[in-house]
Symmetry: C2
Subunit: 211 residues, 2 copies
């Protein structure tokens, strides 16, 4: 498979990979479009977290990804905790870590947090060089070795902890119209009558009607 | 199919739905886990935006969703612009709107923005009641009617515009260790030596080692 501009072999037919895990990897790579190292580690993380939570396949779970790099995708594909269905929160802390928990009517609930443990990667020199973004890492010459080490390590670079997480309730909202563009947004998202799209979060400039 | 606690029929075998669109709907509903109204509208939006951009299936595109409600999922499933592969940005403006554009080496590039047009929903009373979050909307008694109206309307509630969007370059980073938890994050994400997970973005309380 291509990983950026290099060709890598993902050892999905290794004896250590169960058919279930193989299916996870295949679906995640297809969704993400390539076998990114973080994606592969993320599959091991999700599988581990679900096992520690004692959840069964198909059970409705909620998840957090502490980074927007790769890790959200295994949570989306394997657990159906998606960016659009309110079951995935991406909290940009910058860590390769995830949390999973069950639904709860209480304001707090128990969950499992799994993370790449900096104390455990010393045994895996290529993973360490990549994970710490060391200038000596070269995707071109070390990409395949990195994938091999990730599969060799599996859960061995991960740690897990029991955590209590806040449950985020569904918010009530009323529709309001932006006085600049005329489009509607939830009222509490207006900034002095102007939507964020015309205000603090402007990200485009309109230059013509398409229809 | 179940939509929350009500049963709805999604008219995927209607003559107006092409086999390609039917496949989009099925894959999006499967990913999202249920046929949410916003998800169904989102499929029409993505299909429309891609057509206006003149893109072909499988082409590498980038996308923005201006809401975290439903709309990210059709972008992820149909275009493989995912939360984890850097091709989807969710900008929480609060609008049911998306933008798609091609890759570009320039700082700005042309794209297509598609949005649910408040000026076009008057003809669709159930969509209007739902979209404006009017208290008279009842999912239980109007859920099926809403789905039917969404399929009857198709693109008729959407508008599109040509926009110029900023291209976000990949950021360089160096690894640094949080002085509280000892985990590593990109250096610029530290707040006075402490990571956001121990600082401003704390979302969990640790109560035990799981392993």
């Amino acid at each position: 498979m291509m990983q950026g501009d290099i060709q890598v072999t993902v050892p999905l037919d290794s004896r250590t990979i169960s058919p279930t895990m193989k299916g996870y990897f295949e679906r995640c790579i297809d969704f993400h479009t390539y076998p990114a190292p973080g994606l592969l580690i993320g599959v091991f993380m999700v599988d581990y977290a679900v096992e520690l939570l004692g959840a069964v396949p198909g059970e409705k779970l909620y998840a957090v990804s502490e980074t927007n790099k790769c890790a959200p995708d295994p949570l989306q594909v394997i657990l159906n905790c998606t960016s659009g269905n309110h079951r995935l929160r991406i909290i940009p802390i910058g860590k390769f870590a995830i949390t999973v928990n069950r639904p709860s009517a209480e304001p707090f609930t128990d969950g499992i947090r799994v993370f790449v443990d900096p104390g455990k990667i010393d045994r895996y020199p290529v993973i360490k060089t990549w994970f710490t973004n060391d200038p000596s890492f070269s995707k071109k010459t070390m990409g395949q070795h990195l994938v091999d080490e990730i599969f060799f390590a599996g859960r061995d670079i991960l740690s897990a902890e029991k955590v209590r997480v806040q449950v985020t309730p569904k918010q009530q909202w009323q529709s309001a119209r932006c006085r600049v563009c005329g489009e509607t947004v939830p009222e509490e998202m207006l900034e002095q009558g102007v939507c964020r799209g015309c205000g603090s979060m402007a990200y485009y400039e309109r230059y013509g009607a398409a229809t």
